[in-house]
Structure formats: structure tokens, C-alpha cells
Amino acid sequence: MDAIPIDDFLPAAADRMKPLISLQNIVKNYRDKQALAGVSLDIQPGITGLLGPNGAGKSTLIKMLLGLVRYSNGTGTILGHPLGRAGRRIRSMVGYMPEDDCYMAGMAGVEVVQFSACLSGLPDVEGLRRSHEILDFCGMRQERYRAIETYSTGMRQKIKFAAAIVHDPDLLILDEPTSGLDPEERESLLNRIALLHREAGKSVLISTHILPDVQAICTDVVILSKGQVVLQDTLANLNRTSSPSISFQVLGDSTPIVNHLAEHQFDVRLRPDQSILVESEEPNLADVIWSAAKKTSTVIRSLTAAKNSLEDVFLQTVKESQHASS
């Protein structure tokens, strides 16, 4: 018997590179305002953070992707389906978690998830079984049987997340998924999102203002400002600093080591998180820092290759775009 080539089990290379979302020059005009001013982007499979200041057009873009609002101009595809003409097909393959505190009154948590499942096409009993399974995955216990009006904001977030994934969508669009969650729940939710991508192969588009969330789980970043894409890149590229640099933290007073390095012509900066950033073309920069610590009797707590702060990148990008448009 001939062996079956392993490539037969893998998606074609072209498919792997096929963008999940591809938009070309999308324009959305409201009466007196242009919400999207020629958005063009290709979003690859993975976890993509959609960032932007308030009013940048993120919510409009998401609603347009779901086929809930019509766009004025442009073309695009989502999961291979043409934008604007296959709204139902797209919505059956997408799980959406809205930012708004929205819920279906009068129902218990598990009923809301079951209802969402049935609206997405799951049969009634199967929808209930699947809802319980997903609520277990989301860490909802007996409170699932309580009326949703009695839930805290965090619990409602969990229910919305469960409702978004109950029909096993290929693409998740999450709008501010961690808002209202306590730190522990926030971490759990981010872990779940990462797990969905890693183990279930889901792609995720996260619209958020919480940059550490993006830093924690995203592979790609898109920044919108004034209805335009002002930056799209992988997080790895954005993290990369323009010149070799090291960030370190010390125990106690950092002044002696900072002064010592400055005296030796190193570019030293103190960051808001109290870490010290040293930029230099020196090939053995880490050794230099260890040596300076020894000479100044400073205890180094941590030492890592420096990364660009996403916050800096975001602020800089938005500032530049606003400056350019004005």
C-alpha cells in the first residue's frame, strides 16, 4: 500500500496564508460623519488586537464585519465570504461578544447561552448540553441557574463569552472582553482565549483599550485612528526596539548604577515602571551592566532584553496620525 503523503493532511500553503479578514478601502459614512475612511487590512489567523482611541471606528468596523451596518464603499471578504452579501453565513461562523452590558431579561444564565446556541442553529436539547459544557469551560458553576439580572458585571461577561463560543465559531470577535473583570478572572479569560487559539485553532479579533491584554495574548496588532488603519504589524515586530537594549530592575537605590553607566557614555533611561533601560551598540551590554552593578554594590533583581512598550507605540502612532490629519 502506498504511503499517504503527510502534506495531504495539512491545509495547502495558499490556504494557510489566506487572510481571515481582507478589507480593501472600506468607507462608512454616516450623515455628517465619516466613521471609516478607507480601511484596508488583511488579518491572518491568530489573535489580533484591534486598538484605537475612542471614536476611531472600531465598533463600526466590527458591526460592518458582522453585516449589521452597510458600508458606503469598498470590498472585502471574511472567512472567504464576501462582505455585505453573506451576512448570515458570516454570522454563523463568527462568535461576537459585544462590549455593551447587554443581556436577555428573565432568563437564567444557562438559558441565555442555550438561546444563543439555538439562534445559531443548534437543536434545542443539544444546545442545552453544549451550553453546560461551555459554561463549565468558562468557570460558571451553580450560578448559571440564577436569573441573569442578578449577575455581577463579571458574571455577565462570562455569559457573553460563553454565548459567543457556544456554536463553535471559526472566528471570535471580542469587544472589550475583560472589562469589569477582577484580575484573577481577567487572567482566566485571557488564558481561555489563548487556549481557544492554541488548541482549538480559533482566530480571535480583540477590540480593547487594555494594552496589557493585547501584550499578553495577541500575535498581531491593528491600530485604528480617525477611521483609518494607522498601523498593522505583528506584536513581535512592534516589541523589537530600534537599537539593542537591555532593561533591568534593582533592589534599593538605582542612582549609583544609573550615574555609573551614564558616566561611561551609555544612554540610560528610567522607565515609569521603575525599570532602567540601557541602549547601546555594545555587544556585551549585559556583562557591562553586571560589572557596573558589582562596582556600585547594586543588587539587580531582573535583567531582560528590552522591548518596546505597546503603550508607547500606541500613543506615538495615534499622535502621529492625528498630527498628520490636522
Partner: protein
Amino acid sequence: MPVHDVGYRGWDGKKTSPLTRWKIITYTGIRLALRSRWVARLLFLAWLPVMYWGVGFFFIENSINQDSGISVAETVVAAASEATMGADISADLGLGGSRKKIASIIRRQYKMVPNVDVIASALESGNEVATRSVVWGWLLMTFFRYPQGTLILFLVGSIAPALVSQDIRTRAFLLYFSRPIGRLEYVLGKLLVPVAFILMVSLVPAIALYFFAIMMSPDISVIWSTWDIPLRIVAASVVLVVPVASIAVMLSSLTQESRFANFAWFAVWAMGHGAWIAILFSVAVGKGMNPFDPIVTNDPVSQRWSWLSLYNNLGDVQSWVFGFEDFSQIYVSAIVLAGITIFSLVVLYYRVSAPMRV
């Protein structure tokens, strides 16, 4: 972590047809409404008149089966009048009295009862089959118009106001419309909630009454002489549910507060009917008569303004459906109901689409 937590697993089962998603909305709406004790009580209350009308049908058919020596038509009218009016007509009729005499008595003594002239005429005709058809139709028409017409007002008033207003208040629209359903399906699903409840207390009991009457009748051939009655029941139910559900759900879509929608619902009925009653009183005062005397209610001024009352409009069109009025007599009511329904549906669709236009 629960012991049965299996983590995340994919789902690749067979999905239901996209064309039937509105059923989920309707089914869920009905289930939620039935959780209210008031709705359950009203449903129970709305079925009580069925027993009363059932007794009416029983007397009619029981009299037919008895060899009492009087004509079927006479016993039918006697029993129907007794069942629906609560009056003992037998003394007025007298056993073996002539049909013309009985018809005359009915016309005189029961002149306040709508369409009593039609029944009296049927009685005079002496045609057993035609009389049965007329009386059955008349009983069912009064069943639709009086007890159910009033109870439905309260039943719908306790169900419909929250249907869309609650979704607006809790911003549940995004949860609906991010699913593979459209706005028309949402509107249809919501409309069918009050429709289902109205049918539960109008169509279903009316059909049950019809079959009860068939069972009480002397032989099964009665079906052939009354075959049109189930169709008339369905048509009367459609006349009732379409405008009523449209208005109720439209009012619900106008506000975030279901209590406002509830108030508006009762106000629409009370104000229209109240205005017509006021006109009746003014006519009655001018004539020095009882405002509900047929001479007053049939006065051209009263008739001209009858369309102000939704209740009258529904009753008039149902009278036509059961064959007691000509279309020329009720066309204004039909136009008013059609206009209100179209207006309500357009407003409802516009309101449901509004949150997506931001």
C-alpha cells in the same frame, strides 16, 4: 473545576434550518410569558367562557335530539338564547307556538342582542340546516366578540408590552443580530408570541366548541352543513390576531419601559372606545333613549364614528366573517384595521432597525 469539565471541544453537529430560527424567539417568548402567574391565571380565566358556550351548544343539540314535538329551529333559538343571554325564553315561546310568533317575540324581547334579527329570520324560514348554521355561527361570533374580545385585551396587555421594550432596555439586540437571523425574523418571532396566546384563547376553544357541537349533533352529516364554520373561525381569529398583535408589539417597541407600553396599550383601546361611547351618549340624550338601544347604536351618527373604537372595528369585521354583515357595512372598519396593522408593522420594523443605525 467540575469533575465533568471536558475543557473546550468543537461542535460539528447538524444545524437546524435557517428558515425556522424565528421559532426559537417565539418559543422562548411563550416560555418566559408562561412563567408569570398572572398570565397563567388569565389563560385559565379566558377558558371559562368556553364552558358557558359549551352549555349553549349542548342545549341546542340536545333539544334537537329530543322528540319534543316542536321544530328544531324553535328549540335551537330557545336554547341558544338561554345559554348566551341567561334568560328563560321557553315561557315566551310556548311549546308548539308558530315560528312567526316566536320570531316576533325574540325580535321584541331580545332586541339588544346583536344580529338577533338574523336569527329570528332564520327561525321563520323553517330550514333546519340553515338555522343550525346561523345559530352556531352566531354563538361563535358572540364568543369571539364578547368574552374573548375583552379577556384578550388583558391577556395581551400582560404579555406584549415587555417583548421588545425589554430588549431595548437590556440592549439584547446585539445578542440577537450578531446571530444568523435578520430583523424580519426577529419581528416575526416577537409578533407570534401574542399571536400564540390569542389563538390559545380564541381559535383553539372555538374549534373545540365546534367539535363539541358536532359530537352533540344527531349525526355526523352535520359536518357537511356546517363545513364553513371552521373556516370562519380561522378567518375570525386572523382578523383578531393580526391587528392586535401588531399594535401590541409596536407599542412595546416605542419605549424601554414596559409599563409605558402597557399603559399605552390600554389607553389605545380605552380612548377609542371611550370616544365612541361618548358619542353614543350624546345621541341617546338627543333621542331621550338608552345609549345602548339599537336605535341609538344604529343611528347614522353613531355608525359614522364607530371606527374610533378598535373593539367595534374588530367586532364588525368578525360579524362579516360569520356572515352577519355585508362588506358594504363594515368596509370602513376593515380599512381602519388594515391601516393600523400596516402602520404598526412599519413602525415596529423601523424601531427594531434603529439600534443598528448608530
